[in-house]
Amino acid sequence: MYTKMFIANRGEIAVRVINECRKLGIKTVAACSDTERNAPHMRIADKGYCIGAAAVKDSYMNARAIINAALITKSDVIHPGYGFLSENTEFAKSCEQRGVSFVGPASDTLAQAANKMATKRIAVSQEIPVLKGYFAEDIDDALSRADEIGYPVMIKTSNGGGGAGIKPVFSSGELRKTLELLQPLKCGKLFIEKFVRTARHIEVQIIADKYGNILTIGNRECSIQLRNKKVLEECPAQSLSAGLLKRLYADSLKLARALNYVGVGTIEFLVDKAENYYFMEMNARIQVEHGITEMITGINLVEWQIKISAGEKIPFTQDEIRFSGHALECRINAQSCGRIDNWCLNNSEVRFDHAIASGLTVWPYYDSLLGKLISHGQTRRDAIKKMSGYLNDLHINGIKTNIEMHKNLLNNDRFLSGEYYTNILENEGYVKRYA
């Protein structure tokens, strides 16, 4: 097992990893930017250092500063969290070259697993269904590809990520107009893909050790998105036929095996009304919404991610995994910058993975996620009822948050029906009110 872990991230995931390390007896070193010296992850780690200026490129994504800090603090492993450098092949390679372990797949694996085109190619070779998509060189190229695919299409710019740079387009006229507007912004490579209008975003959690054991750990429903960013996730997804689930799990295992994947990962699929499904991409890291899977299985994903990385074998088999009840996660996001004057959550049962503290300043440089409210119940109805209670008990003063939006959503008929698609927030008017 590792002796000292350097956590190259911030916010709630840094807190999560540091908490886990303490349980595993691993010493922790935290890193922060100039503006976050008093952030919770800095306070709870054994040691914390400021590694660079406020901007992400100078601090949390400053690979040189991070590896340097890990080396001079004599850390034997770096945990990259999610986002930032967690799927950066160069960074993983630098860690390997410098003799610091990296909690994640090997750089060779990451080179493929974190590359959208590469994983798509592998999926196709494994006869896993994918959406038709092509890179486009320029506007004319884009228009001809879009004709080939058939409207509507989705345009994705490679400078995106976390929902940015993605837009559905319904006609060639609209495509031309949109691309002409995008050109001056220099948004990187352009990708044109089939857009499935009414679909669900369903993902499969996988876990794989260094001994060739690969398991699936259920699925998650992540269709509730505001401008392509997930806001509320559920586990398990409702109303998916046993046949479909069998195929999703089998294809996820096939893909992971083809990649020689080691670690925790998630395979994302789009599932349409007729239960046609398409592989979208793989997330080769721990995910924000990992907690809801933990609630229904009792399997601690961060713990196992660290243990697998340290060379431990997964001690349970696929058949031994038990699923119990239903879990929900509400992502509590800041909607304004400023100082959190005070906050409270008086509830003895709730799980809230957060990095909130009274007096903390929310800066514009980083993601707006403050914390994740997670509920679990024997039934979906129970889990929703409990979550409504938690939202009622959570108070954050000083900044605007999306707590009211979540309260509203939990009373929404379409959400309550359990039958919804990725267009739910737009159809129900949430984009206008809350985006």
Partner: protein, 138 residues
């Protein structure tokens, strides 16, 4: 100018002129910038102590701080020294690269704020110094 550069330049202009909200619409599209008020910041600012006009020099990177160029060498500066802009104050080692910390103007060294071989954070105080008028330095 790249969009992010444009936004940065506009934000600076806004802050300098006390403008809180700026909306621009033209043929390229529209942009709205809203500045949030800077209340208490934790950005290490140059501390100007009123009585003595002294400041602290912050570390520009994280690394291991050294007061001299090698084990046996004399330290670059000691309290009482009057140094010129461009002089080397100390070294911060990062990734086996010895980075020199250079004085950005003429100073008198008042205090050394770290120990040789200590891990230095980004922004950590390295020296307490006093600005000198150019004419005073010999």
């Amino acid at each position: 100018m790249e969009l992010t550069e444009k936004i940065r330049a506009l934000s600076q202009t806004m802050r300098a002129n006390g403008i809180k909200v700026l909306e621009i619409k033209n043929s390229d599209g529209e942009i709205k910038i809203e500045l949030f008020p800077l209340k208490e910041t934790e950005i290490p600012e140059r501390e100007i102590l009123p009585a003595e006009q002294s400041v602290k020099i912050p570390a520009p990177i994280m690394g291991v701080g050294y007061l001299a160029s090698s084990e046996d060498a004399e330290p670059f500066v000691t309290p009482g020294d009057r140094i010129k802009k461009g002089d080397v104050l100390c070294i911060i080692e990062a990734m086996k690269v010895m980075n020199e910390v250079i004085a950005d103007c003429d100073y008198e060294i008042l205090e050394v704020c770290f120990e040789n071989g200590q891990i230095i954070e980004y922004g950590q105080d390295l020296f307490k110094v006093k600005r000198i008028e150019a004419a005073d330095v010999h």
